[in-house]
């Protein structure tokens, strides 16, 4: 996969004033959004935040560990179905149901990771793609559990006495869980495990020489990645009341992959920004139905040509150039 230049830990930890300002602006937007906008905008915001978490999951396996996975729509779907069914069947409190969805997806991810251990590159991509297709078939045909091709109605989430019946009610919870997962991903990335992931990504031989158990690291990456995608599925159930297997196919996998790659592989900011920017572009382009596919394709080609390391690396480079120019 991609190579990145090693950065000193202290430099990585330092937050520039610009980054701080951007974070403050983002926080302000998140807080102000429900005050000034309609439920439609909040719905889009909720959906984008779910995609942010889904992208974080994919970031762990692709961006951090350098493994290819095309099964994220499946893990996402497992999270949606498992949390919805747990909530419905035994009336689990919704946060517990979300955790259950993440655990089920994570367990399946560990299993797939263990099976896919000997594969890499295109073979791994094909194996995970096959798993994704198989899972969509399971969602569509396991009638007694998933309600099959009729889709599954998701009961409204409950937090104590509060039953969530609108996008605005769900929004604070979606924001909270999204920030939580960003925090978890940053913590993983900065932990010993995260360093192992990146060591495996850069060179398996060198990582092995340093005493890293390659197989174990790859399996853990798959499991964690799947669990985060499953958690995103639980978040989806906070504001969406219906899931259909058609929504969990190859198209969703490609959408998330595009968000992560175009946002910037190997960067958490890239995964978050890619999800938001490309989610928004996709929604805005709905206003130009005749041309949207051409415009979307054109944007992707431009990114690949002029920002192959991703949107945020491109912006960072331009800022650095501007600074050097001023000096």
């Amino acid at each position: 996969m991609t190579t990145t230049t090693a950065t000193p830990a202290a430099a990585r930890r330092a937050i520039s004033p610009q980054a701080l300002a951007a974070l403050a602006a983002a926080a302000l937007v998140l807080v102000a959004l429900p005050v000034f906008t309609s439920g439609y905008v909040i719905y889009i915001a909720n959906l984008l935040l779910v995609f942010v978490v889904l992208c974080l999951g994919l970031h762990i396996v692709i961006g951090e560990t350098g493994q290819f996975s095309m099964a994220h729509a499946a893990f996402y779907g497992i999270g949606i179905y498992a949390s919805a069914l747990a909530n419905r069947a035994v009336d689990l409190p919704y946060p517990v149901a979300m955790l259950f969805g993440a655990l089920v997806a994570g367990a399946v991810g560990l299993f797939i990771g263990a099976l896919a251990l000997r594969m890499r590159d295109i073979y791994l991509a094909l194996a995970t793609f096959a798993f994704g297709e198989a899972m969509q078939w399971v969602f569509a045909n396991w009638d007694s559990v998933t309600n099959g091709p009729n889709g599954l109605r998701i009961s409204p989430a409950r937090f104590g006495p509060l039953e969530i019946l609108s996008d605005k009610q769900a929004y604070p919870f979606v924001v909270f869980f999204c920030l939580l997962m960003i925090g978890v991903t940053i913590a993983i990335s900065r932990s010993r495990l995260g360093r192992s992931f990146r060591a495996v990504r850069e060179s398996e031989v060198a990582a092995m020489a340093m005493g890293i158990d390659i197989k174990r690291t790859r399996v853990i990456a798959f499991g964690l990645s799947a669990a985060i995608a499953g958690f995103a599925g639980g978040m989806f159930g906070l504001f969406q009341t219906f899931i259909h297997p058609d929504s969990l196919g190859f198209q969703t996998t490609i959408l998330v992959l595009t968000m992560v790659v175009v946002g910037g592989l190997g960067s958490i900011a890239g995964a978050v920004g890619g999800a938001i920017v490309f989610g928004l572009i996709s929604e805005v382009l709905r206003q130009a139905p005749q041309y949207q596919e051409i415009i979307y394709g054109g944007i992707l080609i431009l990114f690949m040509m002029y920002a192959p390391r991703g949107l945020f690396a491109f912006i960072g480079d331009r800022i650095r150039e501007a600074r050097h120019g001023r000096r």
Binding site: Y43, R153, D167, Q287
Partner: protein, 402 residues
């Protein structure tokens, strides 16, 4: 006396104020206009199911506006693309209701996707007439807010096909091939109900909508030695099946459901005319596409969209499907009177029963009936000529609470 007069006057004023307040609370209604939200797949691989259907609905509303509107109000429409995708459809619906503040909705061509909006529409009490989705999962169990005016439900599509095969083609064993999705499941349920009544045996094969090779399911069906083959799939698997049947020398009748007839000219191009020697298509309209009884609709299209009409394959086969739901919406608004509210329109819809002159059967809702149409005609098609077959065939399926 004076006190009584004052009291009566105050009551009248209070009543007026209350009715004004009630009127003011109805979104999308002004003195001069009624705003409605239309949505359908206007892009992507499924746009053939919605693009010209949306155009048809728009041109019908334009016609009503030219004729003076509804009780003096013009219909103002806002159109959104739902991409045939559940998340996008919900976004479109929420945008229309919350941002555009429409009075009611008229949209959806994709059955799986429309179900995703059901809870939202019901919670927000928005009258919603589907465009041409069968959307059985949204229509049943019935709610007070969601109606399928065009909608021959998939239950009815399947049931009517079995009726035709049994009664007109004397079939005793029917080879039946459907999708392994919601569409297919609903259709099979309706087909089984009519097969049981007619004493017909169904040999069933279900395939993925994205199937690329239909040899195995076709051979399995042929092994059951069916008298008739019913194909209840979207256009692409349908074309593969018709072609495969011809290649393998199957010469018994084939009946294609309305869902598989997105473009008949494309079908002919894909399978070749010899494959259509003993071929029937189902149609929910009163006549074959472009037929004499539907001529006014096609003329209206030519006048409304001269540029599109000049292009090959336009209007698309499904174009007239946008008319019945638009008719139903207009009639409900008319029946609701000069001061329409959402509740009045919903009451009018529940009692609606009229002959559209466009559909094969009457457009009829009821206390538990949310799919207006249960009838279809059948057309023999040899690749060039369409010959409507005698009779209208009606499904027996009715909703029963489980």
């Amino acid at each position: 006396m004076k006190a009584k007069t004052i009291g009566a006057s105050l009551s009248v004023v209070a009543g007026l104020l209350m009715s004004m307040a009630a009127g003011a609370q109805e979104p999308g209604i002004t003195e001069k206009s009624i705003k409605i939200g239309i949505f359908g797949p206007l892009s992507g691989p499924n746009m053939a199911y919605g693009f010209d259907v949306v155009n048809a609905a728009k041109m019908y509303y334009d016609k009503i506006n030219k004729e003076g509107g509804i009780h003096g109000r013009k219909i103002e429409y806002v159109v959104e693309d739902d991409r045939c995708n559940a998340n996008d459809l919900v976004a479109a619906v929420k945008k229309l209701v919350e941002q555009e503040q429409v009075f009611m909705l008229n949209g959806g061509s994709c059955s799986a996707a429309v179900v995703a909006a059901k809870d939202y529409v019901v919670r927000n009490k928005v009258p919603y007439l589907m465009l041409n989705a069968s959307g059985d999962g949204a229509l049943y169990p019935p709610t007070d807010y969601i109606f399928g005016a065009f909608s021959i439900s998939q239950y009815a599509v399947g049931g009517a096909m079995v009726e035709f095969a049994a009664k007109s083609l004397n079939a005793k064993t029917i080879g039946y091939i459907n999708h392994d999705d919601a569409y297919g499941a609903w259709n099979l349920e309706g087909s089984q109900a009519d097969a049981a009544t007619n004493g017909v045996k169904l040999a069933v094969e279900s395939v993925s909508p994205s199937i690329n090779d239909v040899t195995a399911p076709f051979l399995k069906l042929r092994a059951a030695n069916p008298d008739v083959l019913l194909i209840v799939t979207y256009a692409r698997p349908a074309a593969l099946l018709v072609k495969k049947a011809a290649e393998l020398g199957y010469n018994k009748p084939i009946i294609l459901s309305v869902t598989g007839t997105a473009s008949l000219s494309q079908l002919v191009e894909n399978v070749g005319k010899p494959a259509l020697k003993n071929f029937y298509i189902q149609e929910v309209m009163v006549d074959s596409p472009g037929g004499e009884k539907l001529k006014p609709i096609y003329d209206m299209y030519k006048a409304a969209y001269p540029d599109l009409a000049a292009k090959p394959d336009h209007p698309q086969t499904y174009m007239p499907y946008g008319i019945p739901s638009a008719m139903s919406l207009v009639k409900a608004l008319q029946d609701a009177g000069p001061n329409p509210t959402r509740e009045k329109v919903l009451e009018a819809l529940k009692k609606q029963d009229f002959d559209s002159g466009v559909m094969a059967g009457r457009m009829k809702f009821g206390p538990e009936e949310r799919a207006a149409n249960k009838s279809t005609i059948f057309i023999k098609y040899d690749g060039t000529t369409m010959t409507p077959q005698p009779g209208v065939f009606t499904s027996r399926w009715t909703y029963k609470a489980k």
